[in-house]
């Protein structure tokens, strides 16, 4: 079974530029998550989708971050414009079912973003 795929693996941009990350979850997983992991910290949930609807985006900085999952499969996370403090690893995860705590989350390898 293929795991969660993410691209690109690495990205370096200048501040105020825009950037987009792509995630393809495990086939059949209805729930998709985006996490931000700043160096030295644990992952922090940015947004959670159930199929193509948003379940939780309470910690997403909506003035600069956006995410979509139009067909309920793959997803894109965008930052526009980027700030220095956005430098982090962006992790995508997916799970079966309703995405409750009982459903194991499977993580992709992440995209490491460096903002200069």
């Amino acid at each position: 079974e293929a795991g969660v795929a993410q691209s690109p693996r690495y990205k370096i941009i200048e501040k105020r530029q825009s950037v987009a990350f792509w995630c393809n979850p495990i086939s059949g997983h209805a729930t998709l998550y985006w996490y931000q992991q700043i160096l030295g910290q644990g992952p922090k949930l940015l947004i959670q989708f159930q199929n193509n609807g948003v379940v939780d985006d309470s910690q997403l900085p909506k003035d600069r971050f956006s995410a979509e999952r139009l067909k309920g499969v793959d997803s894109t996370l965008k930052i526009q414009p980027a700030k220095l403090e956005d430098s982090a690893v962006y992790l995508c995860a997916s799970s079966l079912g309703q995405g409750t705590l009982y459903n194991e989350q499977f993580f992709g390898p992440g995209t490491r973003l460096t903002v200069l």
């Binding site: 795991g3 969660v4 030295g40 910290q41 644990g42 992952p43 922090k44 949930l45 959670q48 379940v55 939780d56 910690q59 992790l91 995860a93 995405g99 409750t100 705590l101 009982y102 194991e104 989350q105 499977f106 993580f107 992709g108 390898p109 992440g110």
Partner: protein, 113 residues
């Protein structure tokens, strides 16, 4: 709000030695508790979880963890560490009614030959 503390940022053990990684949580009710491992360049992998019942839980790769309500702890243990266990370990807590996990800041494990 719930929180998770992993007091040890970095731990070094010798191969074959026993291991205990500490995790303390703050939450009024019984939380759901998890341990994840993150190897370099890899995503997080679930080692084990506790929801209810037996307070000693077994996980993959020979790891176990014990929930101690009186100490608000969920420490991860392994009797004999292998070089391949070198990685970063994250404790996480979930609460009833919310789907998001709160992660600790992680403990980096180094294994000496």
């Amino acid at each position: 709000a719930q929180s998770v503390t992993q007091p040890d940022i970095h731990i070094t053990v010798s191969e074959g030695a026993s291991l205990e990684l500490r995790c303390n949580y703050s939450y009024g009710a019984t939380p759901y508790l998890f341990w994840y491992v993150q190897s370099p360049g890899q995503g997080l992998q679930l080692l084990l979880k506790y929801f209810s019942g037996d307070t000693l839980v077994q996980g993959i790769k020979g790891f176990e963890a014990e929930f101690k309500r009186s100490q608000s702890s969920f420490n991860l243990r392994k009797p004999s560490v292998h070089w391949s266990d070198a990685a970063e370990y994250f404790c996480a807590v979930g609460v009833e009614g919310r789907r998001a996990l709160t992660f600790g800041s992680g403990t980096r494990l180094q294994v000496q030959p």
